[in-house]
């Protein structure tokens, strides 16, 4: 049996021929190229360095602090937050919408690209699916955190009403999380088999047992391939409408309440667009981090950044369109409360955040993607970082400014998050990073078998050299099916 050496010097036995079928390899895949891919893909599973544990320790410390803040909130009630009766949704619900939003792009994008058989995406689908599952797990915590009396959670089941969008949201998110987990798992099966076959006796017994169990006895037989293909096709088709419906339902939580700022019919598609916008940005950021840390430059090249960057650029225009549609229709009619809302947003207390959203979330990313000179990996990652921050700000504006419009003739309230809310928010981001870090240690972050069978080496592109940060690869001729 041929053996290659992992990044940490651990011997990774060569694949048994039936784990990932070489007969289905894409054009240009040589045994050496494939062995290198498998080695790169499985190396994080075989070796864990001290820096990883330091990182995990740091994340656990942040989560621990957030738990302390949450216990403080449980003991004293929501009075320790900035939430009051007039602005009763703040950082927590804004973050809920944000995380559900970034969860959107992962599975949705992966499914759309798989359906359209876009080869370039094969090396990033796994990361996108990670983001979906992890962001859903983190985002779904926020409504519970927002509840002053979390012990009453069962009331939702006991007294839940079909008419309530809150109940619809519970169904939508649990259905989406289940579907996304299934959709993440299916293409992992051949890679689990690869890990089962190639992680030798140096790997812990629990890990080998897990991979053996999770691989479902995968041998890559024609019958198994046919069944897996059918299962993936079903999930691809089901998960797209489910993903769209989830964020539409999240938008209904707002737009079905009698509040001036939420009184709009575009909220469903606007939320879906915003979710894809922030989700694509999150994928780009995660791609950049994992590419650098796991030395995946050969498989995640400028092309993946560029295509996702194009999507990001297109969505700056779509978000502009939705926002302008809302401002013009609301502003033209100027019903009671709208003038107050627009004033507080544009020239009032929210003006700095509003300008930040438009300049850093829409303007600069759009300009970065407009000019070829700035469409480098560094430029695209910068744009993605700005979009992620700006979209959180946009969610904050949506929730807090919306609730600040007085419902009756009283003075508008103000809302300032306290240390408890900031700490819990930091803990949520730390939990997100922790789950991604753990996933990256347990599962190959690249869908190895799909890259071997459907993508192969990017022909005509000297991958490692062209993928160097700051350098721009030649523009592909056929976007989407290259």
């Amino acid at each position: 049996m041929e053996a290659v050496t992992g990044a940490g010097g651990h011997a990774i036995p060569a694949a048994r021929p039936h784990a990932v079928d070489g007969a289905h390899a894409a054009p240009g895949v040589t045994p050496a190229w494939r062995a290198r891919l498998e080695e790169r893909g499985l190396a994080p599973l075989a070796r864990t360095g001290a820096r990883y544990w330091l990182w995990i320790g740091f994340l656990l410390a942040v989560i621990g602090w957030a738990l302390h803040a949450y216990v403080t909130q449980l003991e004293n009630g929501l009075i320790v937050t900035g939430l009051r009766d007039r602005i009763s949704w703040g950082v927590y619900i804004a973050s809920f919408v944000f995380f559900i939003g970034i969860s959107h792009a992962g599975t949705l994008l992966s499914a759309i690209l798989r359906v359209t058989r876009a080869r370039w995406q094969m090396s990033v689908t796994r990361m996108a699916e990670f983001i979906t599952v992890v962001a859903l797990m983190v985002g779904a915590l926020f409504p519970f955190i927002d509840m002053g009396r979390v012990d009453r959670i069962l009331n939702l089941v006991q007294f839940g009403r079909w008419q309530s969008p809150l109940l619809w949201d519970i169904f939508a998110i649990t259905t989406y999380l289940t579907g996304s987990t299934l959709y993440l798992y299916l293409p992992l099966i051949p890679d689990f088999a690869l890990a089962r076959d190639r992680l030798g006796p140096t790997a812990p017994a629990w890990r080998r047992a897990t991979y053996r169990l999770a691989a479902l006895g995968w041998r890559g037989t024609p019958a198994q391939r046919r069944l897996l293909d059918r299962a993936m096709t079903v999930m691809m088709c089901v998960i797209i409408p489910v993903a769209v419906s989830v964020h539409t339902v999240v938008s209904w939580i707002f737009s079905m309440t009698l509040r001036v700022a939420f009184n709009t019919t575009v909220f469903g598609p606007y939320f879906v667009a915003g979710a894809i916008f922030s989700g694509v940005a999150a994928i780009i950021l995660l791609m950049a981090v994992l590419r650098k840390l796991l030395h995946l430059e050969e498989y995640i090249t400028h092309k993946q950044f560029l295509f996702l960057g194009y999507l990001l650029g297109a969505f700056t225009l779509i978000m502009t369109y939705f926002n302008l549609t809302e401002y013009v229709t609301h502003g033209y009619k100027m019903e009671a409360g709208v003038a107050f809302h627009f004033t507080q947003l544009m020239v009032g207390p929210f003006e700095p955040l509003f300008l930040f959203y438009w300049i850093c979330g829409i303007g600069i990313p759009g300009l970065i993607m407009l000019f070829p000179r700035t469409r480098t990996i560094a430029g695209i990652v910068t744009a993605a970082g700005l979009v992620v921050v700006a979209m959180w700000v946009e969610r904050f504006l949506l929730v807090v400014a919306g609730f600040r419009v007085p419902l009756m003739a009283y003075e508008p309230s103000d809302y300032a998050p306290t240390w408890v809310e900031w700490s819990i928010l930091a803990g949520a981001f730390a939990l997100f990073a922790l789950l991604i870090s753990v996933f990256a240690k347990l599962f190959p972050v690249i869908s190895i078998w799909e890259v071997v069978e459907h993508r192969g080496p990017e022909l005509g592109e000297a991958a490692p050299a062209a993928a160097a940060p700051g350098r721009r690869a030649p523009l592909p001729q056929r976007a989407g099916r290259a």
Partner: protein
């Protein structure tokens, strides 16, 4: 004018100043009597009528007097009587007030005449025993979606009355609680049946491995 005469005039003026208001007050405190009749029992959500009769001390009816109906209410840390209806007495001293029954249990209804320049205030109470349970608020605004916020029977009701036409669809009204939320249930069942199908395919992948081994 002698001092005696002046003192007498001042005394008379003072007497008038005191006596006139007292006379007016005496006229306003003419006692009144109030009686209230309410149904002894009612159902939650029903509209009930209270018949209130206001008479003077001689039993003569007092017309054109405002009668308030109040009921006790407590909310958070506070409690007190709230006005639930008002009516004006007719020539026979009778006022008919209509009020909504919004709480279950024994509801003490109090009729109050606040008094005026002639008649003194009076009040009377009666208790209505209220039975029943259920949600009293029904959303009227927005789109009516059968299965979500309206009865499916409402589709078949004449002229959009919103009432199930049980003559056309007998038994539908009785079935309604079981049918509530059916569009959501249907959508969820469809999606989850696909998930179940995928789970079945996963089992078959495992079984196919065993076949290959065999």
């Amino acid at each position: 004018m002698s001092n005696r005469t002046f003192a007498g005039a001042v005394l008379l003026a003072l007497l008038l100043l005191v006596a006139l208001p007292l006379a007016a007050l005496a006229a306003g405190s003419e006692p009144t009597s109030l009686t209230i009749a309410v149904p002894p029992s009612a159902s939650l959500g029903q509209v009930a009528l209270a018949r209130v009769t206001l008479t003077d001390a001689t039993g003569q009816p007092i017309p054109k007097a405002t009668i308030l109906l109040t009921a006790p209410l407590s909310f958070l840390q506070g409690s007190g009587d709230v006005v639930i209806a008002d009516a004006t007495t007719d020539a026979k001293g009778v006022a008919i007030a209509e009020f909504d029954i919004r709480t279950e249990g024994a509801l003490a209804i109090k009729a109050v005449f606040a008094g005026d320049e002639r008649y003194a205030a009076s009040s009377a109470s009666a208790t209505v025993s209220i039975a029943g349970d259920g949600q009293l608020y029904a959303q009227a605004a927005g789109v009516q979606l059968p299965g979500l916020n309206t009865s499916p029977g409402a589709i078949f009701s004449p002229a959009g009355s919103g009432q199930a036409n049980v003559g056309v669809l007998p038994g539908l009204a009785a079935l309604w609680p079981a049918l509530s939320g059916w569009p959501i249930a249907l959508a969820l069942m469809t999606i989850w049946s696909f998930y179940a199908m995928v789970a079945g395919l996963l089992f078959r992948i495992g079984a196919a491995a065993n076949e290959a081994e065999a």
